[in-house]
């Protein structure tokens, strides 16, 4: 693994303190790997010519200029952007759960910061919204590089807690964002499925592109507790005593049905849905983003 790429591992990132550093390392690591990926670049406007330097790709040589001047020139492009991206980060109590080293919120933060860093680097406008049962922070989108520290600071400051009311929050935001934009939702989606889907449809109704990163801990999928225990709900503080071995199969069945249905319904409404567990390398999520971004043009 190349040095940057190791920062794609959430556990490695958790050891770093500064969020800007985390975001930069993730994106640099991601981009290093990207050279071998099918994603080569984005929609760009010509900016200027510059002399060919060893290491530049020969295909970028402007052969017409070579014909005229007998010298190698490379065409430099300036990114064209009018995309306004909104990163919606769930900070509800349930996001503070971790069965291992990285909580869901930490993972979501790294992902949000990395996306913000990548978007700013592409000269896209990025804003960040954090929410629990209500909107906590709203930073409107800007494309200036100076806007990045503001975003990262906002992400870094998030403290988990409180209940979730995803549907309300999403409806609120759908109404608030006037111009067509790119909505990236990072959440565990622990709420009423129908209401959440209704809210997501609201975004689509407003012509927004929606990308959902469903962040889950591995244990939330397989429920791998071995002994009888008392489970304490991080959001509602309710408690329940159970023997995990007794209900594991039923739990897994319920969860799988829930997510399959959610995914299918999202696809029906052209909403990109990606389920990610906190032990997944961050580049997986970034690839999903790039795929979506490429489709947006």
């Amino acid at each position: 693994m190349e040095s940057y790429q190791r920062f794609l591992n959430p556990e490695v990132l958790a050891k770093l303190k500064r969020i800007d550093l985390k975001a930069r390392l993730v994106v640099e690591g991601f981009l290093t790997g990207l050279h071998r990926s099918p994603f080569k670049g984005f929609s760009q406007e010509f900016a200027e010519y510059r002399s060919y330097m060893p290491g530049d790709e020969p295909k970028r040589i402007d052969w017409k200029v070579y014909g005229k001047t007998d010298r190698f020139f490379i065409r430099e492009y300036e990114e064209e952007t009018n995309l306004k991206a909104y990163i919606l980060l769930d900070a509800s109590g349930s996001m503070s759960y971790s069965s291992d080293k990285v909580t869901k919120l930490e993972y979501a933060s790294y992902l949000a910061a990395s996306l913000a860093y990548l978007l700013i680097k592409q000269r896209d406008s990025v804003g960040v919204v954090t929410f629990t049962s209500k909107l906590n922070t709203y930073i409107p989108p800007r494309s200036s590089p100076a806007h990045l520290p503001v975003l990262l600071q906002a992400i870094d400051k998030i403290k988990p807690g409180g209940d979730t009311n995803l549907a309300n929050t999403f409806h609120q935001l759908a109404e608030k964002i006037k111009r067509r934009g790119f909505v990236i939702i990072i959440s565990d989606l622990f709420d009423d499925k129908e209401q959440v889907l209704s809210a997501l449809r609201h975004f689509r109704h407003k012509k927004h592109e929606v990308l959902v990163f469903h962040i889950l801990d591995k244990n939330e999928l397989d429920f791998s507790f071995s002994q009888p225990l008392i489970l304490h709900d991080l959001e509602t503080s309710k408690e329940i005593t159970l023997d995990p071995r007794v209900i594991r199969k039923d739990y897994q069945k319920t969860v799988n049905e829930f997510f399959s249905d959610f995914k299918r319904r999202c696809r029906e409404h052209l909403i990109d849905y990606h389920q990610i567990t906190t032990n997944t390398a961050l580049d997986r999520a970034l690839f999903d983003y790039l795929e979506k971004r490429a489709r947006l043009g």
Partner: protein, 647 residues
């Protein structure tokens, strides 16, 4: 249910450990912070699952495993209770104190059972204790405390007595019992040789009291013992030194190896020979070990043989008193000198000091100084002569009679005070041809040396017949089935019913002639001391003088004044309750235990129950050992637990 090791019962509480751990786990459940109970509230809860069943089964198996393990360590046994104390009875308790009861802790177990039999009697009952050896014998008494103290005082004896005599005694006592209910309890190791004679007799009897046998023995036994010490030849002399033969018997069903130690000491306690060797015996094998020694000097010798001790040590030691006699004065009485010639010549070859005498001189001479008298011609002896010889016989002298002509005195047997049931005088039979000697009883110690020898080569042209001779006393027969040699009963007397004259027989020129006469006169001239005394036997010894005599025994030293019987001083010593050497005056006698008592083979329980004899292993009931069963069960539960865990 009872427990042989109840101390382990305290550990049974440890079987609660799995249950306690299970409950603690239930009570002190781990609290886990979880993202949301969103899905759990929607999950269908099952009331029963395989995991719950598995957990319950594991808990049960673990608990049972620990419980049964400690339960088996406590050695549980089931006792079928027989109420002994709800009725009045006349109870005879016969305790087997024969030395086989010394095996392991059999006797201790037996005395405990005897005490239980006493203490569990209802007030107003009467009881008596008798032992096989006769060392303890009480009448029926109602003071049970006193009886209990008697039971405490009994020790294992050295006797090998059987049940039969003491059982007869018990029946006699019960005949005088006042209470209607009569019962006999025999506390024994169920030794076959001790019980079999009685069982055979009980088959015939109809009216007998209730008999219960309390089994205090071990079902599996092993023992090796010394069965016999003998000499070859039986009567060693300076000319014919003896070779001791040690017979060892393995009563076990397995092969056994033992160390054998042979020690022979002289009169002044100096060790002449100390030989050690290893003896290996197969299952139930009897082996005779010859010991090579060369002892010729006249005197008394003590032979002590010991085996390395086993669980029954009493029969691992045996004693033998060996005597090599001084030159022995013998008187040969004749009517005419030619008749004594051949016998005199034969005996002169050995250590005998021969004195020949005619009948006239005999009437004036003193017979006391001769160890044996040979009556070579008997025809002219008068009634008085026979009386005198009879007196000599009673006093311990040995007499050899050859009937070489018809005995004139018709009452000679009466005058001789014979213990032999002979009637009338011998009748001469002139054979038409000749007769030979046949059917020699070589199992008799006197004739033992003729095993494999041929006495039939000698021809006899005339012989004599006697009436009423018991076959057991005939040492050899003629070919006409009439006796050739007769031995006296408890008297040192040998009668040859023929003459040894050249005109009657050619026996004098045969190889067997000299050994036969040497043998007869050795036997007759030896003191009348049995080679094999056993515990409880009475030692009877004729002494040369009536002065107080010193007696050395394993229990200590005593003095005893001889009684005068038939004009000669006699010692009767009855206190032979311990094996070892007993020295009475100059004579050394060995007392040994009955070797057969070392055979611990048990009588089959079926044989007893067929005779309506109850058998119990513990007074109060029959026990069934449950420890093996419970241990097996605990292992089963451990295996089940492991299978469950693997599954």
């Amino acid at each position: 249910m009872s427990f042989a090791a109840p101390i382990f019962l305290a550990l049974l509480s440890l079987s609660l450990i799995p249950l306690i751990i299970h409950l603690i786990q239930r009570i002190r459940l781990k609290k886990v912070y979880y993202s949301s109970l969103f899905f759990l509230t929607e999950t269908k809860r099952e009331t029963f699952s395989w995991f719950q069943l598995k957990e319950i089964l594991l808990l049960v198996f673990r608990t049972l495993f620990i419980f049964l393990l400690f339960f088996s360590l406590a050695r549980p046994y089931l006792k079928k209770k027989i109420l002994l104390n709800n009725y009045e009875a006349s109870r005879i308790i016969i305790l087997d104190d024969s030395y086989s009861m010394d095996y392991h802790h059999n006797f201790k177990t037996a005395t405990i059972q005897v005490k239980k039999l006493i203490t569990e009697l209802k007030k107003g009952s009467e009881a008596a204790i008798l032992t096989f050896s006769g060392n303890l014998s009480t009448n029926l008494i109602t003071n049970l405390k006193e009886l209990e103290s008697y039971a405490d005082s009994v020790r294992v004896s050295f006797s090998g007595n059987t049940l039969e005599p003491v059982f007869d005694k018990a029946i006699n006592i019960l005949n005088n019992a006042t209470l209607p209910r009569k019962e006999i309890y025999v506390v024994t190791d169920l030794q076959k040789r001790a019980l079999s004679p009685l069982i055979n007799r009980l088959r015939m009897s109809k009216n007998r009291p209730d008999i219960t046998i309390v089994d205090a023995g071990k079902k599996k036994t092993e023992n090796v013992g010394i069965k016999e010490i003998s000499l070859s030849p039986n009567f060693p002399t300076s000319d014919f030194p003896a070779q001791p033969l040690i017979k060892i018997k393995n009563y076990s069903n397995n092969g056994e190896t033992r160390q054998l130690q042979f020690v022979i000491t002289s009169e002044n306690d100096s060790v002449i020979s100390n030989i050690k060797s290893e003896v290996s015996l197969g299952a139930s094998e009897t082996k005779t070990i010859p010991i090579d020694i060369d002892v010729r000097k006249p005197g008394n010798y003590r032979i002590e043989v010991a085996l390395t001790s086993d669980s029954l040590s009493i029969d691992d030691k045996r004693f033998y008193a060996m005597k090599i006699p001084e030159p022995t004065p013998i008187l040969l009485l004749f009517q005419n000198p030619s008749s004594v010639r051949y016998i005199e010549t034969a005996l002169k070859q050995s250590y005998f000091q021969i004195k020949t005498m005619d009948i006239k001189t005999f009437r004036q001479g003193n017979l006391k100084r001769y160890k044996a008298i040979g009556l070579i011609s008997t025809g002219d002896l008068t009634y008085t002569d026979w009386q005198r010889l009879g007196y000599y016989l009673i006093q311990g002298g040995g007499i050899f009679i050859t009937v070489d002509n018809e005995i004139k005195e018709a009452q000679w047997t009466n005058a001789l005070s014979l213990n032999l049931p002979l009637a009338g005088k011998p009748v001469t039979v002139k054979s038409s041809g000749f007769v030979t000697v046949e059917q020699v009883k070589t199992d008799n110690p006197l004739m033992e040396i003729f095993k494999g020898s041929d006495l039939s080569s000698a021809k006899f042209y005339s012989y004599y017949e006697l009436n009423n001779y018991p076959d057991s006393l005939v040492l050899a027969y003629f070919s006409t089935k009439t006796p050739f040699l007769i031995k006296g009963q408890n008297q040192k007397l040998v009668i040859a019913l023929t003459s040894f004259n050249i005109d009657n027989t050619d026996f004098m020129f045969k190889a067997t002639f000299l050994p036969l006469f040497h043998r007869i006169f050795t036997y007759l001239s030896f003191p009348m001391v049995s080679q094999e005394y056993q515990i409880g036997d009475t030692i009877k010894l004729i002494l040369p003088a009536s002065t107080t005599i010193r007696i050395k025994t394993p229990q200590g030293e005593f003095t005893q004044v001889p009684t005068i019987e038939a004009g000669r001083p006699l010692i009767r010593y009855i206190d032979t309750n311990e094996p070892g050497f007993y020295q009475i005056g100059n004579e050394v006698i060995a007392i040994n235990v009955l070797a057969e008592e070392g055979d611990l083979a048990r009588i089959s329980e079926k044989e007893l129950t067929n005779q309506n004899i109850k058998i119990v292993t513990d007074v109060g009931g029959k026990t069934t050992d449950l420890s093996r069963f419970s241990f097996g069960l605990s292992v089963l539960f451990l295996i089940l637990e492991l299978i469950l865990l693997i599954v």
